[in-house]
């Protein structure tokens, strides 16, 4: 008989499935645009630092 702490917990499993379902979605375009903005800021700072 399994120990009580290791027994299957359907709610935790469901929460983890919901989490995985969102986490495995393709990243929406909005996020890619935001990351591009951040990358541009980093690139601009690098460029300014080397001049």
């Amino acid at each position: 008989m399994p120990h009580a702490e290791t027994a299957f917990d359907p709610v935790s499993a469901a929460l983890q499935q919901l989490h995985q379902a969102v986490a495995s979605e393709e990243l929406p375009e909005d996020f890619l645009r935001l990351l591009n903005e951040i990358d541009a800021k980093i690139a601009a700072a690098k460029s300014a630092a080397t001049q």
């Binding site: 009580a4 702490e5 027994a7 299957f8 917990d9 359907p10 709610v11 935790s12 499993a13 469901a14 929460l15 983890q16 499935q17 919901l18 989490h19 379902a21 969102v22 986490a23 495995s24 979605e25 990243l27 929406p28 909005d30 996020f31 935001l34 990351l35 951040i38 990358d39 980093i42 700072a45 690098k46 300014a48 630092a49």
Partner: protein
């Protein structure tokens, strides 16, 4: 204005990479908190921008996930005060998922958990999401929420009990007795 040095540039790149790696978890936490995909994604993007703007105040090597989750959580409570629609998960996604025990003695739909989750008080919902879905420790959840570990444990227990009642009715307690 912060002076740009090779160190700050390197730190910015590390910060950016950590932010990218955390996006799936941030989106999941936000979706679970508010239940609406578009609003959740807007909250995450706002939190990312706030985090980026405040990156100089982040201590490298400390818990980046907890730091960003705190910002996102604050964003959620700011948003929820303005928008009262946040009551359900994305039903199309949740409806397709069935969670079963290995021996199939307990089977519940993730959709039922998602719906029940949105009926809980936000302070219980966030603890269930942090610990149950995101795998945070009690200590990390306490840091993110800004309360004592005992409060986290109490909210988790009450949240689980309430979920059981919402999913299975008054007899739902049995579902959790063996793991409480």
């Amino acid at each position: 204005m912060t002076e740009v040095t090779p160190e700050t540039l390197a730190a910015d790149q590390v910060f950016r990479d950590q932010l990218v790696a955390l996006i799936p978890a941030l989106r999941s936490f936000a979706r679970g908190l508010c239940g609406w995909r578009d609003i959740a994604d807007d909250m995450v993007q706002d939190a990312m921008l706030r985090g980026w703007a405040a990156r100089a105040s982040f201590t490298p090597g400390s818990n980046f996930r907890a730091w960003m989750f705190m910002i996102l959580r604050n964003q959620f409570y700011t948003t929820i005060r303005k928008d009262k629609r946040m009551t359900s998960w994305d039903p199309e996604v949740a409806e397709r998922m069935l969670v079963e025990a290995p021996a199939q003695q307990h089977a519940i739909h993730a959709a039922d958990v998602a719906k029940a989750l949105q009926k809980l008080p936000a302070e219980q919902r966030e603890v269930l999401l942090l610990i149950g879905a995101n795998g945070a420790s009690y200590e990390e959840a306490a840091d993110i929420v800004g309360c004592a570990i005992g409060t986290i444990k109490s909210r988790l227990a009450r949240g689980r009990k309430a979920l059981a009642l919402l999913i299975d009715g008054p007899g739902g307690d049995a579902l959790f007795d063996k793991v409480a």
